[in-house]
């Protein structure tokens, strides 16, 4: 099953100018449980989907009271700098959208 089919929220956004954070909120406690147990959420696998290095991850974890998964990573470029392509960091999520959750 693709991750976006299990989620009511799947988004990216700046968390300060040098960090982008990804939030996934699952539609049901069952989907949350399935994700929490799934090897698809091994850090290496998620990083590969987002094409980022494990060393750039600042926070990762499941948040039970929110039925959520969160991962925060260093941005390649600071928001709004000359090289930046996504000032608000809102469009960095496609790597997670189609993550296959086994």
């Amino acid at each position: 099953m693709k991750l976006h089919e299990m989620a009511s929220v799947l988004r990216s956004k700046n968390a300060g100018p040098a960090v982008v954070t990804f939030d996934v909120v699952f539609k049901t406690p069952e989907y949350f449980g399935q994700a929490e147990r799934s090897p698809s959420f091994a850090l290496e696998n998620v990083c590969e989907a987002l094409r980022i290095g494990v060393e750039d991850v600042l926070f990762v974890g499941f948040v039970k009271q929110a039925l959520a998964y969160k991962i925060s990573v260093m941005r390649p470029y600071v928001s709004g700098s000359r090289e930046d392509r996504d000032v608000y960091g809102c469009a960095q999520h496609p790597g997670l959208t189609d993550l296959e959750v086994v």
Binding site: V19, S79, G80, R82, V87, G95
Partner: protein, 460 residues
């Protein structure tokens, strides 16, 4: 100072950002019927990028910000409650405060009222910062470099993102409006409750949920009004518009919004710990939230922000619709950039020093760049040549020169000999203006808040 109801305080948030969305007036007036003790509104952010802080300009439409201030003031003046505005004018600098004051004055004139404003500038004198740096160090925020004297001097202005302790100073004046320079979003809403003696942990978390108006609602709508009632054990959220509700998913998701860590958030003077938070959604669309805590920190750190001008940008926007060109597009980009960098040497301009040229290919990898996983070719590509140089004229001239390596370039199988791409505009080169980088983004230890001094003005 106590609230009308003693054991609780009500805080209203009318929109995610003043002048941005625009706010729903009907919902706001419904919210006002709940008799809030204070209305808070966030007017800015660093999110739009460092340009606005550096250039001293707003990031919303002036006529909309003024209209919303008129809507808010009509109600808060009638109810005789304070309106707190955080991050004045978008970035909270001195020029942003002036702009925001002009909007308030215009709104007051339309209402036929005089409005008393307590202004709290949070711009720091560079010499004062440099004096502090002789006795303390300021570590980087989200990076490892300590703040240097050169960093301070390089910026157009350095603002401090203040917390509740500074905003509280405004309430003592009894002004109609408290207009704060750069402020933490949640402190805009938490200041009055904390001044009244309500727990800091609950108040700051309430502020965090309220800071984007109805973004915490289902469906998510930043322009909708939310009212929070805070007591000594937690707080309850009420959507003003009955078509919206607070659900576990909507509120818990918003609690994660724009935060690096799910459970811990650095604030001026300490850390907000939300690891023990409980959400109790109710059938009437409200939700009860308890369990957040504030840990005092030592020293008391405040984040500083400053932007440095690094050049001027000009762009060329065009669209490629030819299949053969699209198949060759990555190579065309590489060749064009190589050619621009090489040819500019003949004009005494060194790539990477005097200018930077780049080409974004929207439809191919314009958004994600090297991180783009999809490799299939589209039927159309937006080709944007961008030049940043030390003067606007140089940036424009390099863009005029460089666009020809897109428009007229030869590629294998080319039959579009009258020109390769559609120019989006005439003139074809757009001067975008000043480019800034965030140079100061550091945490400075403060001994007290004496450097932040409110002043009062009457406008209208």
């Amino acid at each position: 100072m106590t609230t009308a109801r003693g054991q609780s305080v009500r805080v209203l948030s009318p929109t995610a950002c003043l002048g941005l969305m625009p706010l729903n007036e009907e919902s706001f007036l419904r919210g006002m019927e709940m008799r809030p003790d204070v209305v808070g509104v966030d007017a800015g952010s660093l999110d739009p990028g460092p340009h606005y802080l550096g250039a001293g300009t707003p990031h919303v439409a002036r006529f909309q910000a003024t209209r919303e201030l008129e809507i808010l003031l009509r109600a808060t003046l009638k109810a005789e409650i304070p309106l707190v505005i955080g991050t004045a004018g978008g970035s909270g600098g001195l020029r942003h405060i002036d702009w925001n004051l002009e909007c308030i004055a215009e709104a007051a004139r339309r209402l036929g009222r005089k409005v008393r404003v307590a202004v709290i500038p949070t711009t720091l004198d560079p010499e004062w910062i440099k004096g502090r740096l002789t006795t303390v160090t300021a570590p980087g925020c989200q990076h490892d470099s300590l703040l240097t004297l050169e960093d301070v001097d390089a910026c157009t202005e350095v603002v401090a993102q203040v917390g509740v302790e500074v905003i509280m100073k405004g309430f003592a004046t009894g002004a109609d409006v408290i207009l704060v320079g750069r402020a933490c979003d949640n402190a805009v809403f938490a200041s009055l409750p904390i001044l009244l003696g309500f727990p800091k942990g609950h108040a700051l978390y309430m502020g965090k949920i309220l800071e984007c108006g109805g973004l915490c609602l289902d469906p998510s709508a930043g322009y909708e009004t939310v009212v929070a009632e805070l007591d000594h054990t937690g707080f309850t959220l009420y959507p003003a518009n009955p078509d919206f509700s607070c659900t576990l998913a909507s509120v818990a998701a918003h609690a994660l919004y724009e935060r690096t860590d799910a459970a811990r958030q650095s604030e001026p003077g300490g850390t907000l710990d939300t690891s023990g938070v409980t959400f109790q959604p109710r059938e009437d669309g409200t939700i009860r939230i308890e369990g957040s805590r504030f840990e005092e920190g030592d020293p008391y750190l405040i984040k500083l922000e400053g932007a440095q001008k690094v050049g001027y940008r000009s762009i060329f926007m065009s669209g490629a619709r030819d299949e053969v060109m699209i198949a060759n597009m990555r190579e065309i980009r590489r060749n064009a950039l190589e050619r621009i960098d090489e040819d500019m040497k003949g004009f005494g301009l060194i790539a990477g020093e005097d200018f930077h040229a780049s080409i974004r290919l929207y439809g191919l990898d314009g958004v994600l760049g090297d991180l783009e996983p999809v490799t299939t070719l589209p039927h159309e590509i937006g080709v944007v040549l961008e030049v940043v140089a030390l003067s606007q004229e140089t940036a424009r001239n390099i863009a005029y020169y460089g666009k020809n390596f897109i428009t007229w370039v030869n590629f294998p199988g080319r039959i579009t000999t009258a020109g390769n791409v559609a120019y989006a505009h005439s003139p074809s080169i757009i001067d975008v203006g000043e480019v800034y980088r965030l140079r100061v983004h550091h945490l400075l230890p403060f001994e007290n808040m004496d450097v932040f001094v409110p002043y009062e003005v009457e406008v209208g």
